[in-house]
Symmetry: C2
Subunit: 300 residues, 2 copies
């Protein structure tokens, strides 16, 4: 009954913990899906290729990758990881490996740009002029779609590495980012919560002071993103955001930071609709790769 | 000899201190230009109308306004100021006043979005995918052009109101933003420099510690903008940036903050080309209104 939904695409969400592969036309027409842990590049990319070989009938491939990855099509290292906190993945030729295996158009982008595209296409950001997607989990990363296109410019956003003011009760924690110490990721990622409080985030009860602090940091970040990119919608996903009680805390802090500076209804009256969880849930990233494959094929 | 340069447009840069009006086809074909102090709306808008009446032959009008201004074409208060720190300008109907006087297509945007468009069209950001323009003067404001279009989304950027960490030597200064205290504008605008050091910025010698602090705050902001919007070029204009010795200080601090996180040549090797003064100098804003008028006419 789904035969009228158009061509099928292959998509791969290459994360530092696991890979998710999908063949689909969209969220309601998924032909096949699999996932497996990220080990070494040869084994992991090999498994993905084997999966797609078993489902050869797709018009294009979209790749969303952890990184940082070289996304400049003019660069000799296009589609390779610059570096990686994951052992063995520095310089891994993600795109080239798939190009050797399949003769279809391919697009590659960051995991979060793809998730933003997925949400723009089928989720909480449908049809909006500017959509921002932030994941808060093992790391913090953000991507965006402006006027239907993912943000590139210089290269791609690195939203987890903005600097925000310290919460006064948090003066003694150094932050855990290996490059920047107390950038946002260093202060508010899942591992930062664990390092600060001595327990993983999902073992801290909702009334633990960790959550008010987490909300304060994320609100400072969201305030900065809104002031800079002016997104119609800010979508917060990732493992830490499974703690749904964070959403009202973050919204209240963003309103407080904004302080009625401008009478924008999106902040003052409808902030529940402006700062939201992903409409596609944890499938935002992998469905974003399907949208990326489609966009790549349609762009010719 | 300039007759072949195409249609002429009218542009008005409506600032809190002065208005600049221009009739031109581009930077090399300016038919007329004037400027006068911003007094009350009736007198100031009246002077602008009188100037343009004397040069009736233009195809469209671009307006760049101080604000914040309602830029939502669907809103009943489109083209009016929401509020203003300038007495008498709250609710001023900027766009409507010109619409009653002239029967040509009109576009209205923020002063800094227009400056970004001016730089994208004729200045330091020509043809780039993403261009960011920041003015540092009486206030701090930023605008951007992504894929040829000014940033709107929620409404427009308000880059001066991001929050950045305090410089350790600056713990006691409260900041002067009436809404946010120590947001970027509260810490690093011209009036903030004057409030902190007791002298206007242009009376402080280049070796005064004020400048290293100013560069540190602006570098934190530029780092955040780069991480969020990923612009190919960051253009820094406005009165405070007339202090050219700030540029090398800011570039050095941005590199330090980035800390070789990713081997992006635009940061590590060519930062002198990435963080730059306006190619159009102090004419970026008003020439941006000419570009805005042209874009409005061409969009039909």
């Amino acid at each position: 009954m789904n035969q009228s939904k158009g061509p099928r695409y292959a998509g791969i969400e290459a994360g530092g913990t696991k890979f998710v592969c999908m063949v689909a036309a969209g969220p309601d027409d998924v032909l096949a899906q699999t996932s497996f842990p990220t080990t070494c590049p040869k084994e992991t990319l090999g498994k993905a290729i084997a999966f797609f070989k078993a489902h050869q009938s797709f018009a294009g491939l979209g790749i969303a990758t952890f990184g940082p990855c070289d996304l400049d099509p003019q660069s000799p290292t296009y589609g390779r990881l610059f570096t990686s906190i994951k052992p063995g993945w520095k310089d891994a030729d993600i795109l080239g490996t798939f190009q050797k295996a399949f003769d279809v158009p391919m697009g590659i982008d960051t995991d979060v740009n793809a998730a933003a595209l997925g949400e723009f296409t089928w989720g909480a950001g449908q049809g909006l002029e500017a959509v921002l997607y932030l994941t808060v989990g093992t790391g913090i990363g953000g991507g965006g779609v402006v006027n239907g296109r993912m943000i590139h410019g210089l290269m791609h956003p690195e939203m987890g590495h903005i600097r925000v003011p310290r919460i006064s009760e948090d003066g003694s924690f150094a932050g855990i980012c290996p490059y920047h110490g107390d950038c946002l990721q260093g202060l508010a990622s899942g591992p930062a919560i664990k390092a600060r409080w001595g327990k993983p985030a999902d073992e801290l009860p909702p009334d633990h002071p960790a959550w008010q602090m987490e909300a304060s940091y994320l609100a400072l970040a969201v305030n900065n993103y809104i002031c800079t990119l002016s997104p119609n919608r800010v979508i917060l996903g990732g493992g830490v955001m499974h703690q749904k009680h964070l959403f009202p805390l973050i919204r209240a802090q963003v309103k407080k930071l904004f302080n009625e500076y401008i009478p924008w209804p999106a902040i003052l009256e409808r902030i529940d609709e402006t700062i939201v969880p992903p409409g596609l849930g944890d499938r935002a990233g992998v469905l974003g790769t399907i949208a990326l494959a489609r966009q790549t094929v349609e762009a010719g």
